[in-house]
Structure formats: structure tokens, C-alpha cells
């Protein structure tokens, strides 16, 4: 048996525990991802999707439970500490890159993700430039000629594509995507989704992707999870996910949670 890429065991998260505003955001979550699985997560506003991802990433301390990545217990490791195992693309295109650093400096930082950084070795090494260019060229956005541009000057879509590249330039044990195309216009969003699919499947990266786009949730990935009020209410493997339509999905949600999916993004799409 291979070691799972991610094991979430009895995960509970409370916000403002012990106050009148107490919010039990995640309830006894059990989730195991085998290496190479590409899981899409859907659910209404406030269902706990981001809370789950933040717990795995380490930006939110776990109140109860255990998180293992590639067999290692990371429950109490800081974000920086577990960065050698996890990489991440945020919703806001500005979040994933350092705006005043150039494209190549950002990529150089990502090349050392989770590794020790020396003060005697050059940050951007000449021998890495070819790799950077090749990777940028694979995005098909003409960015291979912009290595020396400050990343803050690029468009949101370009930045998000580069963030995706940075997250995968060194293979992570687990890739986390939290609505990483939600802030982009529809066309750019489609481009970045296609790139995501291309990179994730080419390198067989274990991935957790939150999306509000039912279409994307069905189209991409090898497994689909639905969260509701802090619980996993639906967990569909590839076989069951295939052939499902959006109405099927909405019905399934209603069946499992007893309510309509309260998701403004869904209503709009």
C-alpha cells in the first residue's frame, strides 16, 4: 500500500469558541487523498471549504484533529515549515507573487520552496534561466520574454498563471487551489483552468481544488467532494462523477443536506 498524499483525521475547527458567536466550522472531517488524486471541492458560502484548505496549509491552527502529508504529521507545523510538502495558489492573483520582484526573482524563490536559503549563493542562478523560460513558454502567454519585468506590472491572469507555475516548478506532495480563477474574467479564468488541468495531469500532482463553478467541478478532477455546514456530505469517485450534470449535482446536494445549495455564485452561473 502506498502512503496517502493527505490524511485528515477527525478535524474540528471552531471560531470564537466559548463566545456567543461560537462557530463550529469543521465537524469531524475525515479525508484521505491517494497520490495523484485531483479532488474538486464544492459547497455553499460559509460551508467551510477555505477553512479546510487553510487548516491543511497551516495558516489556521487546528483546534482538534490531525493532518498528515505524505505520511508526515504536520498538524502543528507552521506554513513555512510545511512548504516543502505543500504549494498553494490563492484566490487573489496578488497574493501568490511578490509584486516588486521580477518574474525571474519570483520563480527563483519558488525553486527553493521549503529549502534552506544561503547568503552566499546567488538568488537567481544563470543555469536556471533556461528552465524558467521553458516553463513560461509552456503557458503560451508570451511571458518567456518578460523575465526581468516586475511581476506587479502583469495582469491578474498572467500573475495567476505564474503563481501556478511557481507552485508546481518543484513538485509538491500536495497542491492547494482555493478558487484560484474566481477573480479572473471568464476567458482568462478558462485559460488558467486549462493550464491547471494540463500541469496537474502531466505531472500527476495530488490536488485539492475549491471552486464555485459546478461546471469546472464536474469537468476537472478525479473525485468530487461537497461540503455543507462543516461536513463532507457527498464524496464521488471518478466513475460516479462522470456523466453527472449540474442539476444532478444540485439534486444530490438537496438530498444530502435537506436544503438548496445557498451559493450566490451558482445561482449566477
Amino acid at each position: 500500500m502506498t502512503t496517502p498524499a493527505l490524511e485528515v483525521h477527525k478535524l474540528n475547527q471552531w471560531f470564537e469558541k466559548g463566545t456567543p458567536n461560537e462557530n463550529h466550522a469543521l465537524k469531524n472531517i475525515e479525508l484521505t487523498l491517494q497520490p495523484g488524486e485531483f479532488v474538486t471541492i464544492i459547497g455553499g458560502n460559509g460551508a467551510g471549504k477555505s477553512t479546510l484548505l487553510n487548516s491543511v496549509a497551516g495558516s489556521l491552527q487546528v483546534t482538534q484533529g490531525q493532518i498528515k502529508i505524505a505520511g508526515k504529521d504536520v498538524t502543528y507545523q507552521s506554513v513555512a515549515k510545511r512548504a516543502n510538502l505543500i504549494s498553494r495558489v490563492f484566490q487573489d492573483p496578488r497574493s501568490g507573487t511578490a509584486p516588486l520582484l521580477t518574474v525571474k526573482e519570483n520563480l527563483a524563490l519558488a525553486l527553493k520552496r521549503g529549502a534552506w536559503r544561503n547568503f552566499w549563493r546567488k538568488g537567481v542562478r544563470r543555469e536556471d534561466l533556461a528552465l524558467m523560460k521553458a516553463k513560461l513558454a509552456s503557458l503560451n502567454l508570451g511571458l518567456e520574454d518578460r523575465l526581468d519585468t516586475d511581476i506587479g506590472l502583469l495582469s491578474g491572469g498572467q500573475r495567476q498563471a505564474i503563481t501556478l507555475l511557481m507552485a508546481t516548478i518543484n513538485l509538491p506532495e500536495l497542491l492547494l487551489l482555493d478558487e484560484h480563477t474566481a477573480a479572473l474574467d471568464p476567458a482568462t479564468s478558462a485559460t488558467v483552468m486549462a493550464l491547471t488541468q494540463q500541469i496537474v495531469s502531466a505531472q500527476n500532482i495530488t490536488t485539492l481544488m475549491i471552486t464555485h463553478n459546478m461546471q469546472d467541478a464536474l469537468k476537472y478532477g478525479t473525485r468530487l467532494i461537497m461540503l455543507d455546514h462543516g461536513r463532507i456530505v457527498v464524496d464521488l469517485p471518478q466513475e460516479k462523477k462522470q456523466g453527472l450534470t449540474i442539476p444532478d449535482l444540485l439534486d444530490l446536494f438537496k438530498e444530502q443536506s435537506g436544503e438548496e445549495l445557498n451559493d450566490d455564485a451558482v445561482l449566477l452561473s
Binding site: 497574493s95 501568490g96 526573482e105 524563490l109 519558488a110 538568488g123 537567481v124
Partner: protein
């Protein structure tokens, strides 16, 4: 002529301090008050060392290290105890006042004429000229080392922390450690400036740090007004120009017969002016646009 050269040499020493302040101010976005304590600390340590017979180079280096240590304290207070940056600076600065008195055993420590300093180690003939040459040499070494450092793996990480902490953490960079390193470098340089100042002036004084931050910020902002969008190294070089210009403005004001006791009020007012300049520029532009629009509408 002599007034000009002596002001330029002071400008160079201010530039070292301004470069130190620049690191926390622009890389970490912190106006670090520790500067006001680490500047006299560098002076105090070096003066005390020189008087006790330590060689000038070692005494200067000790001054730098003292400042770095002060930076370490501020860095730890800010990152580990999460004390807000401004308060952190005030705390360390206040504590350093006593430390400086302890180091000097008095409010003021004079260097006797026969004490060797980094400026009297070599003799180019003219004393002020020697000060300028050595000051510039030290500046260029400092800038060269900083440019090298901020382009290493670790230096890049430090810049990323100032830019985007979430991104830095997601890439495995320990934000706290990088901030502490920048704090240490910054205050080390400010102390180095204080150390050199004591060696040119021939004394160290506990109150010589008052105004440090305002002077440094003025030099930085002049440099930024002069040229925008330059590389890190070019920016540091421009700070030398900024510091010298600022020093010359001050000298001009003194020449006009302003009482030196009012100098610090003048420092403060100048900085207010520099800080307000971009806003004024914007308002003027807006007013022009409004006027143009009105004319358009009335036609």
C-alpha cells in the same frame, strides 16, 4: 570651500545612516525608531573602545555589531512578542539611552587628539579630504555588500517578506527570521554611521541620536523625488546624493543665521514638506483638470 567639503563629508556619514534606515523603511515598511538609540550606541561603543586602546578598525566594527545587537532586540520584540513596530522602536530606543550612558560612563565622551581613528589611520594631507575619501570608500563597500546580499537566496527571501508575507511563507520563508536579519543590518549600519560621526567629531554624546530618523527619512525621500524606478543599487547610490543635498540645505540654513537650537524643528518641518509634496502635486494636477473640465463645459 572648507565648509563645503566638511558638509559633504557629514552628508556621506548621514548617507550610511539613511541606507540603514532605508532597509527597514522600504523593505519592511517600518519606520524604526530604534535608529535614535543605535546611532549614539555605535558612537558610544567606538569612543569607549578607542579610549580603552582598541584599534580604530576593530572599534568601528564593534560599533556596527552593537547596532546589530540593538536591531536583534527590536526584531525579537516585534516578531516574537508581536509588539507593534513603532512601539518596538520606542522601547528599544528608550532602553538604549541607559545602555549608552553605561557604555560611556558619562553623558559625553571625548576622544583626545592623539587617539587614532579610521580617519587618521592614513594621511592624504588635508584632514577633511581624508574624511571624504574614507567616508566614500566605506559607503561604496557598504552598498556593494548590500547589493550582493539582497541578490542572494537569503536576500531575495528578505525582499519577498517585505513585499508579500503570505507568499513568502507559502514558499517556506520564515518571515520572522528575515525581518530580524533586516532589523540587524539596518541598525548595524546606523550604528556604523554613529561610530564614524564620533570619530570625525572627536566625541560621542548620548543625545546625538535625536533626529536621526527624521534626517535619514529626509535623505531617502529627496533621493526618491530625484529619480523614480531605479534598481536597488542605484537607489542606494541616490541616497548618498539625497543625504548630501539635505546636509547642504541644512548648512545653508545655518549660514542664514538660524539659531542651531531650532535646527530640529527645521528638520521636522522639512520632512513634513517632503512627505506632503506628492499630495500637493496630486492636488495641483486635480485642480488643473477641474479647471480644464469647467472650461470645456462652459463652451
Amino acid at each position: 570651500m572648507d565648509i563645503l567639503t566638511s558638509n559633504i563629508s557629514t552628508g556621506f556619514l548621514w548617507a550610511i545612516m539613511a541606507i540603514g534606515v532605508y532597509l527597514t523603511f522600504r523593505i519592511l515598511d517600518i519606520a524604526d525608531m530604534t535608529a535614535e538609540g543605535s546611532f549614539p550606541l555605535g558612537a558610544a561603543i567606538t569612543a569607549h573602545s578607542l579610549v580603552s586602546g582598541v584599534g580604530p578598525l576593530a572599534a568601528t566594527l564593534l560599533g556596527f555589531c552593537g547596532g546589530a545587537l540593538a536591531g536583534l532586540v527590536s526584531g525579537l520584540l516585534h516578531t516574537k512578542l508581536k509588539i507593534p513596530d513603532l512601539l518596538t522602536g520606542i522601547l528599544t530606543m528608550t532602553g538604549l539611552y541607559s545602555v549608552n550612558l553605561f557604555v560611556m560612563k558619562a553623558a559625553n565622551l571625548s576622544l583626545l587628539a592623539d587617539v587614532k581613528t579610521v580617519f587618521t589611520m592614513v594621511n592624504v594631507g588635508d584632514a577633511t579630504l581624508t574624511t571624504i575619501v574614507i567616508g566614500l570608500l566605506i559607503l561604496l563597500i557598504v552598498i556593494g555588500l548590500l547589493v550582493l546580499f539582497f541578490n542572494t537566496e537569503m536576500g531575495l527571501a528578505a525582499r519577498a517578506v517585505g513585499n508579500n508575507q503570505a507568499m513568502a511563507a507559502a514558499n517556506g520563508i520564515n518571515n520572522d527570521n528575515m525581518k530580524i536579519i533586516v532589523y540587524m543590518l539596518s541598525n548595524g549600519l546606523i550604528a556604523l554611521s554613529g561610530s564614524l560621526m564620533a570619530q570625525t567629531n572627536g566625541y560621542a554624546d548620548v543625545s546625538m541620536g535625536i533626529g536621526t530618523l527624521v534626517i535619514a527619512l529626509s535623505a531617502i525621500i529627496i533621493a526618491e523625488i530625484l529619480v523614480r524606478n531605479v534598481t536597488f543599487g542605484q537607489r542606494l547610490l541616490m541616497i548618498i546624493v539625497g543625504a548630501v543635498i539635505y546636509r547642504l540645505i541644512i548648512a545653508g540654513v545655518l549660514q542664514l543665521g538660524v539659531d542651531p537650537n531650532y535646527l530640529r524643528l527645521f528638520y521636522a518641518l522639512m520632512l513634513v514638506l517632503f512627505l506632503a509634496l506628492p499630495l500637493v502635486e496630486k492636488e495641483v494636477k486635480k485642480a488643473r483638470e477641474r479647471a480644464a473640465n469647467k472650461r470645456e463645459m462652459n463652451n
